[in-house]
């Protein structure tokens, strides 16, 4: 949302959205703690927790940070940042997981 195009009326409408988002965020927080206490299998646990976290983050970014109506340029920059981080996580990780030749020694 570029500030140039928003009027006070829009903002008033948005305020209601902000509080709704807040409600959802709070709910999701409770949910993620609740799920964690269920002690699910490790894989599922991680999956659920991360899904909820991603959901919450997208809410914050989309609404509080107005990313949803932000310029495409900013999107592109952020997407590259996220892609590079994925590379930094998964490339070394996949080597650590697939490489059976080298062993960790205590």
């Amino acid at each position: 949302m570029t500030t140039t195009t928003t009027t006070a009326k829009d903002v008033k409408k948005h305020s209601r959205v902000y509080f709704t988002v807040f409600g959802v965020l709070a709910l999701l927080t409770v949910l993620t703690v609740a799920v964690a206490s269920l002690e699910l299998a490790v894989g599922i646990g991680i999956g659920v927790a991360l899904t909820i976290a991603v959901l919450k983050v997208s809410l914050v970014a989309s609404f509080f940070m107005h990313l949803i109506s932000e310029k495409k340029l900013i999107f592109i920059i952020l997407i590259f940042a996220v892609l590079f981080i994925m590379a930094l996580i998964f490339l070394p990780l996949s080597d650590a997981l697939t490489n059976v030749g080298t062993k960790n020694v205590p």
């Binding site: 340029l73 590259f80 940042a81 590079f84 590379a87 930094l88 490339l91 070394p92 996949s94 080597d95 697939t98 490489n99 059976v100 030749g101 080298t102 960790n104 020694v105 205590p106």
Partner: protein
């Protein structure tokens, strides 16, 4: 924030804490050159030890030369130019630094270099050259000075952040230099600072890490500024495909700095924690150093550092070379008097290069026990990333064809860049293929590879830039004869230093050896090359004297020139006076109507001028 109301700024505001991009650019440039000089001096000392292991250094000579140059600079600067004279102090300070090195028993007893000290010099040579010398000069110096002018902007987007970036850089540099004076000396684990070695190293390593934090901050601030400036402050009509290639190269480098440095910051914080808070991010369990069990919790991973470090350091090497390519492209287009051939393909290649450079980092780690799939991945990306470099270099070569080539000093350096970068790039290929890297990894072949890209490559491009933009900065031209001596001297001796490294590398001589391999039998047949390289390196240093004289003399009494002496199309020459006006650059902001390099446009042919400046409105008869 900027004021052209004409009221006199204080000395401090004007020259020290200036927020004018031109002053900041000059500050960056001079500081960068000074660090280049220091970096060179460190290696000059090391090369003595490599050529004549364990012989006392004739330190009087080594200290006297910079001191004498310093005195000469002071005298040449004269009373009228106190700032010029003061730069002589840099050289005298350097002489004093060398004297300090020799005077310490823990560094050079009897003027003989200890291995510990050799390692300090090596690590600091790499660090200073990369982070304090070349990048600040190429990005901070040229980027700051030239980029806003080339895009027709009154200044950087955030002048204050620009100043903060410079002073953060200076702080980092000072910390790095101070580290020579703490007990145990400076960092001594290589510029790569691999743990566990770096985790257990002396205090200098901690200072290195603090210094890096400042340098990282500086680069991040700079990068935000550059990107915003290019996106937001381009002159009217300056579309993306009309940008000079130099602007593109800076733009992409800024992205690399922005996104690649934070992981190194994380790595640096981890290493600081390891060193100061006793954590073991990079320390596996069960370390025994000199028979003593290291009392830490363990469980860390030394490879984590390498991943984080090279995630930065590989993009960083393209930060070293992209601006250089940008400078070379400007100079070549200008001095062949024709447009760059394949401008678009160059731009796309540079963008592609930037993106790819984030996923090749582990080609520095082939020998860390990497499995087949990942090795295949990184070999492939490494081969892929060599293609855009080939495309850019090819385009530059082809651009020469059909030109009307002027061999002035900037052009000579730019032309010198091409084959030198070519050699450096080509020797990157065997390193990028894991099987051949097995033999060549961590040998002098690697040293040869990257010095060809950074020293006769990037440094030549930087020299080209200095000679090319000097008239812009001062309104005076540098002396051509001295310039040519400087070029030919540098060209010969650069090759004299770095060519033999390939031979030693093929022979399997490891890098970072205090005695240059004298310990090892397989190195014996090639030890004589150490002397060849060292002598070349010293002569290379002496070959810079004409440059220093030229610089000082031209500032003092160079030949005055018009505002566009090279007959260039780009805005910094075509639309701004030389030197450009303080705070604002242009009398009125220019408007752009042309592509970046409209030289020798065929229809124009009235014989008076062979170029169309970017800000010249279209005449009817130019509508090809």
């Amino acid at each position: 924030m900027s004021d052209d109301t004409g009221h006199e700024e204080s000395f401090w505001r004007k020259y020290i804490f200036s927020i004018d991009h031109k002053i900041i650019g000059i500050q960056y440039g001079i500081t960068g050159l000074a660090f280049l000089l220091i970096g060179f001096s460190l290696i000059a000392l090391m090369r003595w030890q490599l050529a004549y292991p364990e012989e006392p250094l004739p330190w009087i000579v080594f200290a006297a030369i910079p001191a004498l140059i310093g005195i000469a600079v002071i005298l040449m600067g004269g009373k009228k130019r106190p700032y010029l004279s003061m730069s002589g102090l840099i050289f005298i300070g350097l002489g004093a630094l060398i004297w300090y090195f020799v005077s310490g028993e823990e560094r050079m007893p009897g003027a003989i270099m200890l291995p510990e000290f050799y390692n300090q010099l090596g690590a600091m040579h790499g660090t200073i050259m990369v982070f304090l010398g070349v990048v600040p000069l190429a990005v901070g110096g040229f980027g700051n000075y030239v980029l806003p002018l080339q895009i027709g902007a009154p200044d950087m987007a955030f002048p204050r952040i620009n100043m903060a970036s410079y002073w953060s850089y200076v702080s980092g540099g000072v910390i790095m230099l101070v580290s020579f004076f703490v007990p145990g000396g400076a960092a001594n684990s290589g510029w790569t600072s691999y743990p566990p070695l770096a985790d257990i190293a002396t205090t200098g390593q901690t200072l290195w890490l603090f210094g890096m934090v400042f340098l990282i901050t500086s680069s991040l601030l700079g990068a935000v500024n550059f990107i915003t400036t290019v996106i937001q402050l381009r002159a009217k009509g300056l579309t993306w495909m009309r940008l000079p290639f130099f602007v593109w190269s800076q733009f992409i480098s800024a992205f690399l700095l922005l996104l690649a440095f934070p992981p190194l910051e994380v790595a640096g914080i981890f290493q600081l924690m390891d060193r100061l808070a006793g954590t073991s991010f990079f320390l596996p369990s069960g370390l025994v150093v000199s028979g003593q069990i290291i009392a830490v919790s363990g469980g860390g991973s030394p490879l984590l550092w390498q991943h984080l470090f090279w995630f930065l350091a590989h993009p960083e090497v393209y930060v070293l070379v992209l601006p250089a390519m940008g400078i070379v492209a400007e100079v070549i287009a200008n001095n062949t008097r024709k447009p760059l051939w394949g401008y678009r393909s160059m731009v796309y290649s540079a963008i592609f290069l930037g993106i790819m450079s984030f996923i090749v980092w582990a080609h520095h780690m082939f020998l860390t026990g990497m499995g087949t799939t990942i090795a295949a991945f990184f070999q492939t990306t490494t081969m892929i990333i060599s293609i855009p470099s080939v495309v850019i270099l090819t385009a530059l070569f082809i651009s020469l064809w059909g030109g009307s080539i002027r061999f002035n000093t900037p052009m000579l350096f730019a032309l010198g860049f091409l084959p030198m970068f070519g050699i450096g790039g080509l020797t990157g290929l065997p390193l990028g293929l894991a099987p051949s890297d097995v033999h060549l990894h961590d040998t002098y072949y690697v040293i040869g590879h990257f010095h060809y890209v950074v020293a006769p490559g990037t440094i030549f491009a930087l020299f080209a830039g200095i000679y090319y933009w000097f008239p812009k900065i001062t309104g005076k031209r540098m002396n051509e004869k001295l310039g040519k001596i400087h070029f030919y001297g540098s060209f010969i001796f650069m090759n004299g230093v770095f060519m033999p490294m390939f031979i030693q590398g093929l022979a399997g001589v490891s890098r970072r050896l205090w005695d240059g391999g004298a310990e090892f039998l397989h190195a014996q047949p090639f030890l004589y090359l150490n002397e060849v390289m060292s002598v070349s390196a010293w002569l290379l240093g002496l070959a810079q004297i004409p440059f220093i004289i030229n610089l000082v003399r031209s500032i003092r009494s160079g030949e005055k020139v018009s505002s566009n002496p090279w007959g260039a199309t780009t805005l910094e020459w075509a639309a701004a006076p030389s030197p450009p006006i303080a705070h604002g650059n242009f009398k009125t902001l220019p408007e752009v109507h042309q592509a970046a390099y409209e030289y020798s446009v065929p229809v124009e042919g009235d014989g008076t001028s062979d170029f169309i400046p970017q800000n010249q409105p279209d005449k009817e008869h130019v509508d090809k």
